[in-house]
């Protein structure tokens, strides 16, 4: 069984430890906030100048001066702080954010990340803070469907899309499996779908290292 977007988000959330400072990207990464364990105090950073970001604002209670990086109206947690953009990105670029979770078009076997543009010549390029997170976060986690709508693996030997950052991704959470990028290659930590490591390697198109154990919970 492949995981839904919400299930992937929940799976990521399990791995964020108490006390972590975390930046969640737009899309599925944002959903991770909904699944963070209640017994952990995890502090969310938003690139537009805030630590201690809370959930989305309720309808009618939005504050025009308080949005997240996706321009969605959000709330502030007790203990929050605000700062300007250069300070916010110094925090990201200086290696102070423990985890960032971003979506991706492609991740390579070396951990190269491609998530800011495709090769389309008619799309408007936009990069935002993705390259800063790729270069600066202590742990770069990616969430994505393992296969594109046309069935191609988004985990690839070499990215065909323009890079956001080279050799920066540490872990990849997908609907099919969780992977770690290690010096020896890409290691499978968990498989959710009814596949073994060999079958998964075949689908992805290159040999993956099997580190799944019987102890692995298959959601």
């Amino acid at each position: 069984m492949r995981l839904s977007r919400h299930q992937i988000a929940a799976r990521v959330a399990k791995d964020i430890p108490d006390g972590a400072y975390v930046n969640l990207g737009i899309g599925v990464p944002t959903l991770v906030a909904d699944y963070l364990p209640e017994d952990r105090e995890i502090i969310l950073h938003t690139e537009n100048g805030m630590l201690g970001m809370g959930g989305a604002a309720l309808p009618g209670q939005e504050d025009a001066d308080l949005t997240n990086a996706g321009k969605v109206y959000v709330t502030e947690e007790i203990g929050a702080s605000y700062f300007h953009h250069a300070d916010s990105f110094a925090m990201m670029r200086g290696g102070h954010i423990d985890f960032c979770v971003m979506g991706a078009y492609q991740v390579s076997a070396r951990g190269d990340l491609a998530n800011w543009r495709t090769n389309s010549t008619t799309s408007i390029p936009g990069v935002g803070g993705a390259m800063d997170l790729a270069a600066g976060a202590k742990h770069v986690y990616v969430v994505m469907d393992l296969f594109s709508k046309t069935g191609e693996s988004k985990l690839v030997q070499n990215c065909s899309y323009p890079l956001t950052g080279a050799e920066c991704v540490e872990r990849i959470y997908t609907d099919v499996a969780v992977f770690d990028v290690i010096p020896a290659g890409v290691r499978i930590l968990e498989i959710f779908d009814d596949l073994d490591a060999g079958q998964l390697s075949t689908l992805v198109g290159f040999t993956l290292i099997d580190a799944t154990t019987s102890a692995t919970v298959r959601n």
């Binding site: 690139e47 537009n48 939005e62 504050d63 670029r93 408007i124 323009p162 890079l163």
Partner: protein, 230 residues
């Protein structure tokens, strides 16, 4: 006596001429100086270079500058916006130049201009097409790219409150680019919700000291609900 408040937005943007490089604050709507941008539109100047993180975002005051053909070049990190086509059409038709800059490089380059830094090395963008043709350097085993300061003739920013010295405080995530842009432009013009008496702002909480503000207008207007501002 110092009193940096001017009467209206038209007076505030006086002196901005064709060809000017203009920083505009805001990350999307929060921090965007709407009244000053409208006044700039009314002023009719063109051939502008605009530095703004989300230049092009849908239907707002900045995109009206584009629509009116006033902008020659945009320096930003994210011009895409759902529901906006003004920038896209101009860009795809080759009628507007785009310098796409990673957001942190944008903020740091603006900060560098205000701080007298001639350039700096950053890891952001190394190995990507946004760093193509840029100087690179290996420092302590890691690759860095050389980035240059971004200066401007004018900065248009929005804050929450000001005193007559031009000391500014902001609200929540509307702070964003205002403080660094204020320091990076030759002339900084602010739009604030309220002016308060000198001394009413606690010296410990002032975010932009008045030294960085040349003049400001007060709109008397405090958005707390987005429906009010849209």
């Amino acid at each position: 006596m110092i009193d940096k408040e001017v009467h209206d937005a038209g007076e505030a943007v006086s002196g901005i001429e064709n060809g000017a490089t203009i920083m505009i604050g805001g990350f999307g709507p929060p921090g965007q100086p709407v009244a000053l941008i409208e006044a700039l539109l009314n002023r009719g100047v063109s051939d502008l270079v605009v530095i703004n993180n989300n230049a092009g975002a849908g239907g707002d005051a900045i995109s009206r500058l584009f629509g009116a053909g006033r902008v020659r070049k945009v320096i930003c990190s994210f011009p895409k916006a759902i529901g906006s086509t003004v920038f896209d059409e101009l860009f795809l038709a080759g009628k507007i130049e785009l310098e796409l800059v990673p957001q942190g490089n944008l903020a740091e380059r603006i900060r560098a201009a205000g701080a007298g830094i001639g350039g700096f090395f950053t890891k952001t963008g190394y190995g990507t097409e946004l760093a193509a043709d840029k100087e690179v350097r290996l420092i302590d085993g890691e690759h860095y790219v050389f980035e240059t300061p971004l200066h401007a003739d004018f900065a248009l920013i929005r804050a929450s409150r000001a005193d007559r010295w031009g000391n500014l405080v902001y609200r929540k995530t509307a702070r964003n680019f205002g403080p660094v842009m204020a320091a990076a432009a030759k002339v900084t013009i602010a739009e604030v919700d309220h002016v308060v008496a000198l001394g009413e702002l606690d010296p410990e909480i002032i975010v932009t000291p008045g030294i960085y503000v040349d003049r400001f207008i007060s709109t008397g207007y405090a958005p707390t609900n987005p429906k009010v501002t849209s």
